[in-house]
């Protein structure tokens, strides 16, 4: 990623962050309006409102969707602020959880479950946040291209032997796991993932027995 790319990414980030604030204001107003309807309903006599229960159920559905919308905008906002500081300190646990939320739709379209495994302790490194998210997303995409429907992808951040790593593990419903693993490094997206990892000062490998793409990251990058 060159200087022009960084400027463009920062521009997209700034605009997206601004829009998430606007959407958040819309959600806040819908939440208060729905809350006001609940308040009015609470002071309405049952016998004067024959459809009170149906009304309550509908308000509950609205509340659920507001919460969903809020979670989405919250994550989008955090993602949009990723280019603000680069390199920056990030916790691989948090980045993995955020990526699961942001990429869940892509997995859902293929009927694949996407999850993050939380490492027991914080796994903090100084890195380029946007490029790291790209690397995670590229890894997910590579597996999504190969995995069958109803499979599962799990991001496992961890620290082993002083190495910082995110394992992108998959579980498939067919017995062709090894075939999938062997196809990963010949995937069109593999080269791009390798370049992203070089930019991050790290490396990428596959572990056939563990059914994982392994993203090795340095604990510190200073450029």
């Amino acid at each position: 990623m060159g200087k022009t790319d960084n400027k463009e990414v920062a521009f997209f980030g700034k605009i997206t962050a601004g829009i998430t604030h606007e959407i958040n204001n819309v959600l806040a107003t819908i939440k208060e309006s729905s809350g006001l309807l609940e308040d009015i309903l609470a002071i309405t006599e049952d016998d004067t409102f024959p459809h009170k229960d149906r009304f309550k159920k509908t308000l509950n559905r609205i509340s659920g969707q507001i919460k969903r919308g809020n979670d989405i905008t919250n994550n989008l906002n955090r993602f949009a602020h990723s280019p603000d500081y680069s390199p920056a300190s990030v916790d691989l646990n948090e980045v993995s959880e955020q990526m699961v939320l942001l990429a869940s739709r892509f997995a859902r379209l293929k009927n694949v479950i996407l999850e993050a495994g939380h490492y027991d302790e914080s796994v903090i490194i100084k890195t380029h946040p946007v490029a790291l998210q790209m690397a995670l997303f590229e890894s997910i995409e590579i597996i999504l291209d190969l995995i069958t429907s109803r499979g599962k992808i799990i991001l496992f951040p961890r620290k082993t032997d002083n190495k910082y790593v995110v394992g992108v593990h998959f579980e498939d419903t067919t017995p062709d796991d090894i075939v999938i693993m062997q196809s990963i490094s010949s995937s069109d997206r593999w080269e791009s993932l390798q370049k992203t990892m070089v930019y991050l000062g790290g490396t990428v490998e596959t572990d056939d027995s563990a059914l994982e793409i392994l993203l090795y990251l340095p604990n510190f990058i200073d450029k």
């Binding site: 962050a17 958040n24 204001n25 806040a28 208060e32 309006s33 006001l36 002071i43 602020h81």
Partner: protein, 123 residues
Amino acid sequence: MDPLKVLLVDDEKEFVTTLAERLELRGFQVLIATDGEEALRFFDTDLPQVVVLDLMMPGLSGMEVLKRMKAIDFKIPVILLTGHGATKDGIRGMQLGAFDYLMKPIDINELISKLDDAVKSVP
């Protein structure tokens, strides 16, 4: 007991009028301002006991309104409203004398609890 007088300040008119109605249903007396200048006028003439102030407003920013209110009456409790990822702004506001901050969308019960705490905090 007289109702607690709250000044709500937010440029999102639909949001602030609906929130005001909800607080009124719970026995609060509510004043509404949709910009910083109007907020300072109400602050001067209507003497609210607590202020709920949005930080992100066009014109006079919430932070500037906070500073001016505190310069007039340093004891007035102010609860700030912030957006996503604006924890730093909330903390900065508290360093400038705000009582606390809440992230939008807010929870009405949490706001009421903070309003009560804010009033109790005034010596």
